[in-house]
């Protein structure tokens, strides 16, 4: 854990080099396929530099010397970044993403790059072009996705924290599946510069950690305005650790009727309602709530995200970098073959969907309509937040499924995101944290949604719940 490790480093009971070496050994063993790349040389150099700073009394902060991992759609200068795609199998970025640079500036040791569904498109990490990641709680099951590699790396105890990205639930759902805290910040709080785009108006980078406090520490390191991202916000930075202590007394917590869906696993529902009760016992009030446009969120998401993806992925054409088909005779052939060979089937499916929805004659019926519904979904939340401070629900309606399940049915797969998507459409902050364990020993996650730029209330609620539940979840 970051805070605990920070304390150990401060007390000199360990060194960054020692911790990093241990982490590297574990990462190299990597029985869960969490990692796509390990930057041993970079990590060791960063660890030594951190230890030297500490010896000089020039430690940079709570992340200094702490090994972390980055989802492999976050660029790392000089370290191959693939987005989980054959298209970028050999792509070495010439620059760091802003979040990478900020973690480095905070002294964090970047151990390696974690597996993901190709370009972030999926909920299982099975859509990686390279290998499927396994859930450390049950290696026959998915860790969720698309940030499944980051989830597995933290849950397996290889690193204390990792960054994921969340376009429709890709931080929160794998966090729920692996017993972690996962935070998708408010759209605009964290820079997207240097993050390989899936759906630009929905993508957001966030921390995946063992504790709420650790999530706060990582958020503090990466958040804030970035001139390189015109959608990043200059919203005031907060000292998150301060806000953790304020408690939930008099906080109004809303349970949206529409989020307790048919077909939801009863164990999950029980566990989530128990978490709400727990908060109530801490002084919060529980409010019944309706978000009437929730039923349109899935369709809205699966128009907007593929539209943006079909556009964002146009640059992978085999001309300047990335996969290029061999023995090409003509330009059209270069495009067709490079893209056919370089992209996996889920990516192609979404490119096709988006291309179709943006075509002349269909734009109004699909993209424009979806944007209108998106506004209605956003308004649902605005109205809800006049009466509540936090919205509480399950993160996923189901427990982690078997790795070979649901592979042939994309629609069933899309349904798994139904509780996490609306948060991205509305640009709100959302957090998933463990609230229990199923009878089968699998983690259950509860999702907290907050007002725009009100991560403070989310973190504070999560901290209170975490302390009260006092779960001991360890990988078996």
């Amino acid at each position: 854990m970051i805070a605990a490790l920070g304390k150990a480093l401060a007390e000199k009971s360990t060194t960054s080099l020692e911790t990093t070496t241990t982490a590297l050994t574990a990462a190299k063993r990597d029985t869960f396929n969490a990692f796509l790349a390990i930057d041993e040389a970079g990590a060791l150099a960063a660890a030594k530099a951190s230890d030297e700073r500490r010896a000089r009394g020039a430690t940079l902060g709570p992340l200094d010397g702490v090994p972390v991992a980055l989802k492999d759609n976050i660029l790392t200068e000089g370290v191959v970044t693939t987005a989980g795609s054959k298209m970028l199998a050999n792509f070495t970025p010439p620059y760091d993403a802003t979040v990478t640079a900020r973690l480095k500036a905070a002294g964090a040791v970047i151990l390696g790059k974690t597996n993901l569904d190709e370009f972030g498109m999926g909920s299982s990490t099975v859509n990686s072009a390279f290998k499927p990641t396994k859930n450390p709680f049950d290696a026959t099951r998915t860790p969720g996705g698309s940030s499944g590699g980051s989830a597995a790396a933290v849950a397996a105890g290889i690193v204390a924290g990792a960054l994921g990205t969340d376009t429709g639930g890709s931080i929160r759902q794998p966090a729920a599946f692996t017993g972690l805290v996962g935070l998708k910040p408010t759209y605009g709080r964290v820079s997207r510069a240097g993050v390989i785009a899936y759906a630009s108006s929905l993508d957001q980078v966030g921390p995946m950690t063992r504790t709420v406090e650790d999530a706060a520490l990582m958020l503090e390191a990466i958040e804030g305005f970035d001139a390189a991202d015109s959608t990043s916000s200059d919203a005031k930075k907060t000292s998150w650790r301060e806000s953790l202590r304020s408690g939930v007394k008099d906080l109004r917590i809303g349970l949206p009727r529409e989020y307790f869906v048919d077909g939801m696993d009863p164990e999950i529902e029980r566990s989530v309602r128990a978490a709400a009760k727990q908060l109530e016992s801490l002084g919060a009030s529980i409010v019944d709530l309706s978000l009437p446009h929730t039923k349109f969120a899935l369709a809205t998401y699966y128009v907007i995200a593929p539209c943006e993806a079909s556009s964002n992925l146009g640059r992978y054409d085999g001309v300047r970098y990335g996969h290029r088909a061999a023995d090409v005779k003509q330009l059209k052939e270069l495009y067709e073959r490079s893209r056919s060979e370089g992209f996996g089937s889920e990516v192609k499916r979404r490119i096709m969907l988006g291309t179709f929805a943006l075509s002349s004659g269909y734009y109004d019926a699909y993209y424009r309509k979806a944007q209108q519904v998106r506004t209605l979904i956003t308004r649902d939340f605005e109205q809800a937040f006049q009466n509540v401070d936090v919205v509480l629900s399950a993160t996923s309606p189901v427990l982690p499924w078997k790795l070979d399940e649901k592979l042939d049915d994309p629609l069933a797969m899309y349904l798994m995101d139904v509780l996490t998507l609306p948060c991205n459409l509305a640009g709100l902050p959302g957090l998933s944290m463990p609230c229990g364990v199923s009878s089968s020993g699998l983690p259950i996650g509860v999702q907290l949604l907050g007002k725009r730029f009100d991560e403070a209330t989310l973190l504070c609620t999560a901290q209170s719940l975490e302390s009260a539940l006092n779960l001991k979840q360890e990988v078996r």
Partner: protein
């Protein structure tokens, strides 16, 4: 030209490169030339993860152009992505403005064959340029130096009715854009490009014919030629009972023809949608009005003022306003001297000649308006003679030294004292009693001979007017 019962209808789309130092969405340089791909950045290369950041200088220039062209500058406009695959387009889309452009309406006024005309503008929007392909034998190479360069697309209504008017419209538009510092007006380097939408209809009809879009028009001469050739082609099709197809046609100046590039059916589906990486462009009233307050007097208005208020000939007014720097320098010299006609004469005569001879431009002149004023004052006060003034001005132009210093160094001061003049007159009369007699006998023209003699004796520096006066007095006896 089309047969006489047909009328050509023309609308023009101009792409004008904005005079910014960096690209529309990245810090890479916009300078022309350079080694291929030297002026690129991770943003113009379309690497994974890069995001566009709007160049505010480009926005300012767009507002300035919109105001100069009498458009409504939109307080809210939007960026869109226009998609197509081509190796000169690194992202697979061009960032442009589609549904909500930065300027709406507006007009351009020019002098057509039958007097002043005004063409309405539909819209002006900003967009990024693509790169280019260089074909070498069987390989094609990509140069992205130009990719991301900021452009203004200025779209006119189909208000033009002749190829000559189209050219005059373009010249007037270019004059304005160059004048306000938005564009360098260079057609050869492609920083001012034009596509023409051309159709024909019978005189008296108010239904436009099917239009064709002409491309590859990179000089005013080609624009005129292409429009005329295309109009003739369309008239011939209609006359022979055919139908004009809507298509994009390429002008081939070598063969003096237009030929089909792509038909309407092959037109791309660009799949425009608002760019999620860029928030809408919001321009406050204050910002727009701030730019308006900085608007300079435009060339046509200034030309008119020179004629109407300063009394200059139209030709002079045209020459003096052909170039903003020339006009501004004229204004400053005028402020020193006050006599527009006199200043204009010097600009049109001596200054133009010296600039031509030295192959230099007005912005390179070494003298100040105050020094120019000093030369004219020396003439007015008879400090120097007319020819002396030209010599003085030429030296001032060459060196930029103070006129008083030049007068001293070159000994250009006129002798205005009667003493030395009278001595010289007496000597000249004494040397030529015959001519004195001749004058007194009525041959008053002979005074010219004496002026010459006297001037020679004072080394050419006598004030000719005074010499004349004194001579007449003495010769009369």
């Amino acid at each position: 030209m089309p047969r006489s019962d047909f009328q050509v209808v023309i609308g023009l789309e101009v792409h004008a490169q904005l005079l910014t130092t960096s690209k529309l969405f990245s810090g890479a340089s916009t300078s022309f030339g350079g080694a291929p791909n030297a002026h690129t950045s991770i943003v113009c290369l379309g690497l994974p993860g890069v995001l566009p950041v709007l160049n505010q200088q480009a926005v300012e220039l767009a507002i300035r152009a919109g105001l100069a062209l009498e458009c409504t500058v939109a307080e809210r406009s939007e960026w869109s992505r226009k998609h197509y695959f081509y190796p000169d387009l690194p992202k697979g889309y061009q960032i442009t403005q589609y549904e909500f452009p930065v300027c709406l309406g507006g007009r351009v006024t020019f002098d057509g064959a039958d007097g002043e005309k005004s063409v309405r503008l539909t819209r002006i929007h900003m967009e990024e340029d693509a790169g280019k392909l260089v074909h070498e034998g069987s390989v094609s190479l990509v140069d992205l130096n130009r990719a991301g360069t900021p452009l203004l697309e200025i779209v006119s209504e189909p208000d033009l009715r002749s190829a000559d008017d189209a050219v005059e419209y373009l010249k007037s538009l270019r004059d304005i854009l160059v004048w306000i510092g938005v564009n360098d007006g260079n057609l050869e380097e492609g920083s001012f490009r034009c596509d023409a939408n051309v159709s024909v209809m019978r005189h008296g009809s108010n239904t436009f014919g099917t239009r064709c879009e002409l491309k590859n028009l990179n000089s005013f001469r080609f624009i005129k030629q292409a429009i005329e050739i295309e109009a003739t082609r369309q008239v011939e099709i209609i006359e022979s009972g055919g139908k004009v197809d809507q298509e994009t046609r390429l002008f081939d100046p070598q063969r003096a023809e237009t030929r089909s590039m792509r038909s309407k059916e092959d037109a791309h589906d660009y799949r425009y949608f608002p760019d999620p990486d860029l928030p809408p462009l919001l321009l406050s009233k204050d910002r727009i009005e701030g730019e308006r307050a900085k608007q300079p007097e435009l060339p046509r208005a200034r030309r008119r003022r020179y004629v109407e208020a300063l009394g200059l000939p139209a030709y002079d007014a045209g020459v003096l306003t052909a170039d903003r720097a020339m006009s501004e320098f004229f204004e400053r010299c005028l402020a020193e001297v006050g006599d527009a006609k006199q200043v204009s004469n010097w600009f049109m005569g001596e200054l133009s000649r010296l600039l031509n001879e030295s192959k230099s431009t007005i912005s390179q002149v070494k003298f100040t308006p105050a020094q120019f004023g000093a030369v004219l004052k020396a003439v007015k006060d008879s400090v120097v003679s007319g020819p002396g003034a030209k010599e003085l001005f030429a030296d001032l132009f060459a060196t930029g030294k103070e006129p008083s210093v030049i007068i001293q160094e070159k000994g250009l001061a006129q002798v205005n004292d009667d003493g030395p003049l009278l001595e010289a007159i007496a000597a000249a009369m004494a040397e030529s009693p015959k001519n004195v007699e001749s004058y007194r006998g009525g041959n008053t023209k002979i005074v010219g001979y004496f002026v010459g003699q006297v001037m020679k004796k004072v080394g050419g520096k006598g004030n000719p007017k005074r010499i004349n006066e004194l001579l007449v007095e003495k010769l009369k006896g």
